[in-house]
Amino acid sequence: MRISLQINNKKISKEIEPGLTLFDFLREAGYFGVKFGGCKKGECGACTVLIDGKSVNSCSILALQAEGHVIETIEGVGEHPDQGWKKTKGFNALQKAFIEAGAIQCGYCTPAMILAAKALLKEKENPTEDEIREAISGVLCRCTGYDKPVKAIEFIQKIKSGEVKDQDLDKEILNEVMPQVVSISDSPKFERIGQPEKKVDAIKLVQGKPAFTTDIELRGMLVGKILHSTVAHAKIKSIDISKAKELKGVHAVLTWRDLPRVVYSTAGQSDPIPGPLDMFSLDNKVRFVGDRVAFVAAESEEIAEHALKLIKVEYEELPVLLDPTRAMLPDAPILHDEAEYINFADSDPKKNLAAKIRIDVGNVDEGFKEADRIFEGDFIVPKVQQAHIEPHEVVSYWDEDDRLVIRTSTQVPFHVRRILSPVLGLPVKRIRVIKPRIGGGFGGKQEVLIEDVAAHLTIATGHPVRVEYTREEEFIAARSRHPMRVHMKTGVKSDGTITANEMYALSDTGAYGCHALTVTGNTGQKSMALYVGDGKYRKSPNIRFYADIVYTNTPPAGAYRGYGVPQGYWPLDRHLENIAKEMGFDPIEFRLKNALRSEELQPFSTSWSEGREPRPEIVHTVGLEKCAEMGRKAIDWDNKFQNESWQKVPNKPYLRRGIGVAFAMQGTAIPYLDMGGATIKMNDDGSFNLMVGATDLGTGSDTILAQMAAEVLGTTVEDILVYSSDTDFTPFDKGAYASSTTYISGTAVTNAAKQAAERIKIRAARMLSKNGSSVTAEEIKLCHSKATSKDGRSVTLKEIAYNALHHEDQEQIMGHASYVAPSSPPPFAAQFAEVTVDIETGQLTVDKLVMAVDAGKVVNPITASGQVEGGMTQALGYAVCEEMVYDEKGHPRETDLIDYHIFRADEMPELKTIFVETYEPTHPFGAKAVAEIPLDGVAPAIGNAILNACGADLHENPATPERILKALHKIK
């Protein structure tokens, strides 16, 4: 049918199929600012456009329905003001405000948010915060926690009313969004470190530029699709693909018979992978509902989906194992009976055991004997999903040199290349992995999940192939957080000293063992290490952590932000709260009394590392006490805790308020193992290309790496052009996981910049000496984009660059460095929560979350606070509403973002972030990590607040209304 649409004041006419959605029409027409959230039914809002000025999901409307209406996309909102000789009207005020407020993290939902805000501001001149939140409620954001986008939108009104002048926008808006930063350590003075620099990628993201994996078109590109298993455990008796292959437009149908049988692990980790090899690209057995059965490549999505329906699969169903407590029983069905299975450490597929951990620190049994009281408790934590708004996406193609290019939304491009090499039968040198912009990952993209699918189909067809998961596939066939059942046993003296602490975790890795050992190792290694006990126990704590990680017929678990640690803090901190309550201790004082202090040994460091040899680590900086003090003040703890009149809500006798606290400790990188590299080179104009293998998945790491380089080179962040990452052009980096980028990649960047700086100083000294008194390189200081001698003479970086590249003793000024950390300095946090509980229905409302964090020196307070706000929001979901549930046949309850509810902008509690700055001596700028720790404390703090509100002692999260009411009945 012929259609004519009015898009951004341009008329576009073309022939289309009647079923084409507006979303598909726009993407095909090159409007890549309209993003795919995987759903096609309006769950996430990433595809938002304006129709007649109203925000609408373009995936749930036909293009033909939009005919006769005015359509606006982000491409029509504003653009870069300076395009060489062509000047444009520039950015819209909203785009500017989003940049200045740091309202962008991964940027995948940014165009949608800006459009939704634009619609609101056209309708309402002076919207309230509630109205702003409602207006953007249709756009789900998994990164920001919504606070900064809301503040950015609020600021437009201030500009309109004249309250703030346009030229003062940057300063004024920063005042609004800057977190509280309290320094408790001496720190050198820096120029760029500690500054709220604008994100280096913000400008492209507010314009909706085609920065993401599938924002490209390649001639002859096919659509790849996966046939997923409909049964939880079965042998594939037969697959008939004849009808699918005959379908016009189908180029390949692959089953397990077509591919080499190469066993591997999808876990994106350094070699050797610390886990069993137990997966094949395609196998003759399926192990969960959603497991892979066949791949199809076709000329359109519709044809590919039709082809999937034409594949006839005959299953020989096997007994299903869903209950992890039954996994190791003698009569349990065995998931992995394949001959190719390769063990790692204690894995034993005959017992459905993917990994086993036994760590004893000190003498735990003796510690229990020394205790006055012993407390035990059982706890359950759920399986949850990363739910990044950009699904897993891959495009693969052969290049002109017959090398396979894999363009993928991954956190681990170098691991993808290495892991896929044997799977594809290609040497590493014939694979190039390009990581464009990532629309959120949170560990879900630390997995080599669908890159092999696209690659196999490209090999089979010779065509470029695009594979992108739908939202349903994200739920049934991606990775998730390991659910666990945890038993706690703790010995306590009557003065509150912990004498021994024991945790046993039964962890469910699902059908495959990716990350089984390391995730669960961190569950104990990070959480249990926080509480060493007091007095003599500080030098010789008694801690035990045992775990069994078992297979079940559920979708595999994997890496999810926090990497096992949130699973540890729910049982640990809820248990400590119960002990404090039972023994009458102040909950904050009890925790502080037993918590790790500076210059003490990380007690697990001598017993366990992530599948490697453990080495002792001293924890140099611990800002926990100050975090507790600041958080306590911010939430007004002293006026609320155990204050019965505050707990009651006037005129609502069924409501009770409560307040809770939890402490957390995370890690910063994996010591002696993971490496990051950086290359920096100087350009003619004195700018620098910084090439890193590190992957910014929305965290702001490209920006803080640029800040570190700029600090060393004495230049501006704008003059550091970050390129990340491409296995052909950027140096190796382990990727973005384990809270390592600031620490490991940052140190590599700093060292590379130092090399370049050294060359700059030598040349500057030579240039200055020619025109005056002699100067040595050691006397040169790099600052304000100049090299300045002690006597005040200077040459600009541009002059130095021209001198080096064109005029004299020509050389490419550059630096290259790599770094492996000898330690993992932990960040610390005190998390507070305030809640209201309906004691008659169990309905829970979280009113406020306050987090005080010691992340060392904060490199960029805006991006760091964005991490904390977004992290707290994810953790809030973990606390109250997110979980993945399966029926007795292993079919999932949650397959979309309606049933799997993540928080919207219009239901958020108040968030507050405080940074307590220590100065970590092992980092060039004193930094530690901040990415993962916000995930740790929210759930237990909320659980503790519920206990405080109404006495309901929850041992299982999320805290659903029914669970709360049941817990209330127990005390009645």
Partner: protein, 247 residues
């Protein structure tokens, strides 16, 4: 799969299109269903030009055109209870495109807005038959309904409405929701949702003495993957009692 699209300019034309035997033709309102139409060939008939996006008020009642969006519905009534139900039903983008008619035809028992409409004793007007039927009577025969091709309007009479919902978060789909409508005549209707294929009418009458029993009956088979019947009965009773007291 959608093989044909038409946008009729009047009701007669629309009915004729929907009467076609081949291809199977279905009305298209906001568009929420388009992603689901991927199987057998189907023609869609877009109702946007039929003038069904109006709300009009007569003495004690309102005629709400079936193409009125959820957002327009909320904006017109400006009732905090209706606004709350709409905002739980859908976030802003969907409110701007989803229509009340589409919701009535497609929503299930978890729908807060359908629960609210059931409490309000909404009536549905169909063309070409001109048939009017109460929502409560229509919902059980929704799948087999053949006395009208196009839902043109939803009628509600003036009443006082109270609504509340229990979910895992403030805007989560309800595990349980309850709407209580009361009229000047003393009539009270209580509808309960959050489970099942349609919301359930717990009470319709002037007496509320047996509210606990009524709620218990309505929720006795409400167990599903989201909550037990026992929980829903206990919480639902409290919710209904509270809303009744407030109404």
């Amino acid at each position: 799969m959608i093989i044909d699209y038409s946008r009729p300019k009047n009701m007669k034309e629309a009915i004729a299109l929907l009467d076609r035997k081949e291809p199977r033709s279905i009305p298209l309102a906001g568009g929420s269903i388009v992603s689901k139409l991927r199987g057998e060939p189907v023609a869609v008939v877009d109702l946007q030009d039929l003038g069904l996006a109006q709300i009009s008020k007569s003495t004690n009642s309102f005629d709400i055109g079936s193409m009125v969006t959820l957002n327009e519905f909320g904006e017109y009534f400006k009732s905090p209870e209706i606004t709350k139900a709409i905002s739980i039903q859908a976030a802003k983008n969907k409110q701007n495109s989803a229509t009340l008619g589409g919701l009535v035809c497609l929503a299930d028992g978890r729908s807060p807005l359908l629960t609210l409409l059931l409490a309000l004793d909404a009536s549905l007007v169909w063309e070409p038959t001109g048939k009017t039927i109460s929502l409560g009577n229509w919902l059980p025969q929704r799948r087999e309904w053949n006395e009208g091709k196009i839902l043109t309007a939803i009628k509600i009479s003036e009443s006082r409405i109270k609504f509340d919902s229990i979910g895992r978060s403030p805007k989560d789909q309800p595990i349980l929701c309850c709407a209580v409508a009361s009229w000047k005549t003393g009539r009270i209707r209580i509808a309960i949702g959050g489970f099942g294929p349609t919301p359930t009418l717990a009470l319709d009458g002037n007496k509320t003495d047996n509210i606990q029993k009524a709620v218990k009956i309505a929720l006795s088979n409400s167990k599903d993957q989201w909550a037990s019947s026992e929980y829903r009965i206990e919480a639902g009773t409290k919710l209904a009692e509270r809303l009744l007291n407030e109404s």
